[in-house]
Amino acid sequence: MKNHKTIVLSNQEISPGYYRMRILAPDYNKHAQPGQFVMFRVQRALPPLLRRPFGIFRAGFMPADCDSMPPKEFIEIIYKVVGSGTEIMQRLHYGDPVELLGPLGRGFEYGASDEEKILVGGGIGLVPLYMLAEKLVEKSKVRLLMGGRTRDDIITVTEFERLGVETYVSTEDGSLGEAGLVTQVLESKLRENNKVTVFACGPMPMIEAVQKICKRSATPLQVSLEALMACGVGACLGCVVKGSGHTDAQPSYLCTCKVGPVFQSDQLDWGASENRGADSCGGCR
């Protein structure tokens, strides 16, 4: 947990509207856990005022610029251009000064190794699952169910395949993989009746559907949530979600940035429509 005043190493459009950015990030290989995130300052001046939260796609090393220097440590984030901050981001180049606060939050728990792992990713929700897959493939069979609206929303699947992950792609419009929702694929996989843990990240309606499916079959589920965040460190209390057992009389609010962003599904109050907050409130300016 540190704030790095650092630079962009590269920034590339990988699918229409989706960018992959590499950022110089000392210590992340050692410290970043799958499912953790960073608070990214898109430039060292205004605008925008606040940092933007992004999942860590992966950490790595690359050769130094001069052979008498140590290799450069980096992280990669993958982002979708949706508003004012990501619009500035898409114009960044090598060398542009940015700031990185992290790694933040609680990541995924790996669970038992004798079970199958199913990762469910919806669009940009795929991001935090890659580092997780890197870990899980060491001990377990891992399958990735990747869904999106159209083929443009299907990103980095090949990279998962290279890890040895079995991947299943579905798009709502049928433009890539199976036509339909990723949750339909999940249902069919769970019907195989293996011992399974599910890890899901994506739009809230998808996560809610996954939760219902897993609950029906009593399958353990971890979800990674998004929330509007100002601080990312538990100080502002802006990013809360309702915890299980939340009532008006006995309220339970959990900070997505501290207790999450990854939650065991039974930590959350699935009845609370407000837990959809972040997702439906994008676009503040």
């Binding site: 947990m1 540190k2 704030n3 300052r41 205004l46 605008p47 925008p48 005022l49 606040l50 940092r51 700031e99 606060l101 929330a227 509007l228 965040m229 100002a230 601080c231 990312g232 460190v233 538990g234 100080a235 502002c236 209390l237 802006g238 990013c239 809360v240 979600v241 309220p251 339970s252 609010y253 407000e274 837990n275 907050g277 972040a278 439906s280 409130c281 676009g283 503040c284 300016r285």
Partner: protein
């Protein structure tokens, strides 16, 4: 940044507010620094002038529904709803952490009735580690139709008087900017026995999602903070300094030393940094360094020379 030679005498940064000595005039604003521990990994709490806690209430408070925050142009709206752990948990689980540091702890607190304020003050008065109390009066008075205490000089006088009776600790009253004449509420707080004033709390604001046609905050209305509000805050501090004889702590949109200096020059004895902590967890460290550099460059040996040095 100015290179410091061995021989250069570093400017004196210490200030005093209501009898508490601060090693420098920079402290966090309540609600933007948690209970201190959240930012401890990023900066040395021993470098700050004071630590100001999230606002506490007698019982734990859950806060508002989400969305609770929203970015605006050079600012943000929040309607956290004063979520806090309550005074008991604070004393038991948060104070021990804060007591490790050699930095005065200022506890921010609030209530929804004068009695709640008074009772809470009594509780906090007993805690030795608490250096001073900061009383947030920007809260609805449930006994008076939910009208915010801080906008009515009579209500201010009444509630501050009640609190004053319950504590011998330095009492800072935090004023709301959402009033026609802040000099009146400032004087009411002074007359009721405040040892110092802090301002501004957030300005009331609102934002709309034009696609869904719904307010961006679940609470519809929230508090505006950040650089956008600084000119309003400087003006209010300037007015309050002229109206009262107790020290004033300036707050509102401070993110650099130059911002802090505006408040000091109009007469604030210290300043609080709020939203800027979210933007940069090292903001206060940088401000302190820049402040020293400014004093060195301008030949100011003691920061107190600057306080109230405005020439009109």
């Amino acid at each position: 940044m100015i290179k410091r030679k061995e021989k250069i005498i570093r400017p004196k940064m210490a200030v005093e507010i209501a009898g508490i000595k601060l090693r420098n005039p920079i402290m966090p604003a309540s609600g933007t620094f948690g209970y201190g521990e959240e930012y401890a990994p990023y900066l040395d709490l021993n470098s700050l002038g004071a630590i100001v806690t999230k606002g506490l209430s007698l019982k734990p408070k859950a806060g508002n529904s989400t969305p609770r925050i929203c970015e605006t142009v050079s600012g943000m709206l929040n309607a956290i709803g004063l979520q806090n752990v309550g005074v008991d948990v604070f004393i038991k689980h948060k104070m021990p952490f804060l007591e490790q540091f050699d930095t005065p702890v200022i506890v921010n607190f609030f209530g929804n009735t004068p009695e709640e304020y008074a009772e809470l003050t009594g509780r906090l008065d007993d805690i030795p580690g608490v250096a001073a109390l900061e009383m947030n009066i920007s809260c609805p008075n449930v006994k008076h139709g939910g009208i915010v205490f801080g906008i009515d000089p009579q209500a201010v006088f009444a509630v501050v008087s009640q609190v004053r009776k319950k504590t011998t600790k330095p009492l800072i009253v935090k004023l709301t900017p959402n009033v026609t004449d802040i000099q009146v509420t400032a004087k009411a707080a002074e007359e009721a026995g405040a040892d110092a004033l802090s301002l501004i709390n957030t300005l009331t604001g609102m934002a709309v999602d034009v696609k869904t046609r719904r307010p961006r905050l679940a609470n519809t209305i929230g508090g505006l903070s950040g650089p956008a509000i600084r000119p309003i805050a400087v003006r209010l501090v300037h007015q309050v300094v002229q109206a009262v004889n107790i020290p004033v702590i300036g707050i509102g949109g401070i993110s650099r030393a130059l911002d802090a200096l505006e408040f000091l020059i109009v007469g604030a004895t210290a300043v609080q940094v709020g939203t800027a902590n979210f933007v940069d967890p090292n903001a206060m460290t940088t401000i302190l360094q820049e402040l020293e550099d400014f004093c060195l460059a301008e030949g100011i040996e003691d920061i107190n020379e600057l306080i109230g040095s405005l020439e009109i």
